[in-house]
Amino acid sequence: MTDHLDDSLLHAYLDGALAPDERVGLEEHLNSCPACTEDLARARRLFLAIGGMSEESLGRDLTPAVLQALSRLPRWVPSLAIGELLGALGIGAALILGLGTSEIVDGLSASSERIATQLEVASRQLTSGWAEALERSRSFWSLSEIRLPDLGSAGIWATIAIAALILWFVGNGLVLGQVRRKVWR
């Protein structure tokens, strides 16, 4: 316990919310501390004043007005933020294509190789166990070895894209339909 009792402890005492041993300790302190006794008396007067206040009614029900105000909230605010993101994405994609995709892809691939090398070196220096795990992961699955299968014609890729698109629509429709039926009422 500090030199003086804090307000929350005094309020808990007045509310009868203290444990018996806390109550005994607090009363012992009050017997020897005029400042805390004065604080307790002030808090008790405050409690009595609050308890003596009458309950005022608003006079009219504000619920319809609040609900109406909520329905008028600008719903475009979050969608505008997402819209801005999508717009920036489209502009960025167009810029990347305009600047030359092949140079960027080459640059990204060179950077990723450099980063992979640095990661390997640093990992070996930091902890031998980590480096060993990296080595094992390289033999387990090397991302650089992943290549798209050479299917020959563009028609096959177009078929795959369309099939995946249809599956995507169906899958999303099924799951989102279940979600809407389940919870958001």
Binding site: P78, A81, I82, L85, L86, L89, G90, G92, A93, A94, I96, L97, G100, T101, S102, V105, T117, Q118, L119, V121, A122, Q125, W130, A133, L134, S137, L148, L151, A154, W157, A158, I160, A161, A164, L165, L167, W168, G171, N172, V175, L176, Q178, V179, R180, K182, V183, W184, R185
Partner: protein, 159 residues
């Protein structure tokens, strides 16, 4: 040795960037991030299913569009880039939602900023665990967050 030094500098910067990104997403887009978190809590199975459907099938579509476009750009590669961008944005929101969820459970009585920062840091560090983090925890959280974000995005407003 230079590589090692560069890596020692880069690693905390990348780590800090991810933590800052997730924290900023929560501040700027509280509705979307909160919806992702809520959906992941209330409907983890459906969130995971939706995330799996979108991640797998969009990846196939992107690969097919990339192959159609060849190496010379064009409309297919533009579409592929836009799809990749959308996927990355959705993953970012989903992971931000997951970091908020982790932070709230780790530090229930702390401030929002502290929860998000610690949640993000925990998510990033745990995802760096060899094998278990790379192939287990991170894909799980990413897919769950992605699905949660999409459910939150398309949910109907309460009446």
């Amino acid at each position: 040795m230079n590589d090692g030094v560069a890596m020692l500098i880069a690693a905390p910067v990348v780590f800090g960037s991810l933590v800052a990104l997730f924290s900023l997403l929560r501040v700027l887009f509280p509705v979307q991030v909160g919806s992702a978190k809520l959906a992941a809590i209330e409907m983890p199975g459906r969130s995971f299913a939706l995330g799996t459907v979108n991640l797998l099938l969009l990846s196939v579509i992107v690969a097919a569009l990339g192959a159609l476009g060849g190496g010379g750009g064009g409309i297919f590669q533009l579409l592929a880039l836009i799809l990749v961008g959308l996927l990355v944005i959705a993953l970012g929101f989903g992971l931000a939602g997951m970091s908020v969820l982790i932070g709230e459970r780790l530090l229930p009585d702390s401030s929002l900023a502290r929860q998000t920062a610690w949640g993000s840091a925990t998510l990033v560090l745990a995802s760096l665990t060899p094998f278990l983090g790379w192939f287990g925890l991170f894909p799980y959280l990413a897919i769950l967050g992605l699905g949660g974000f999409l459910i939150g995005l398309f949910r109907r407003s309460p009446r």
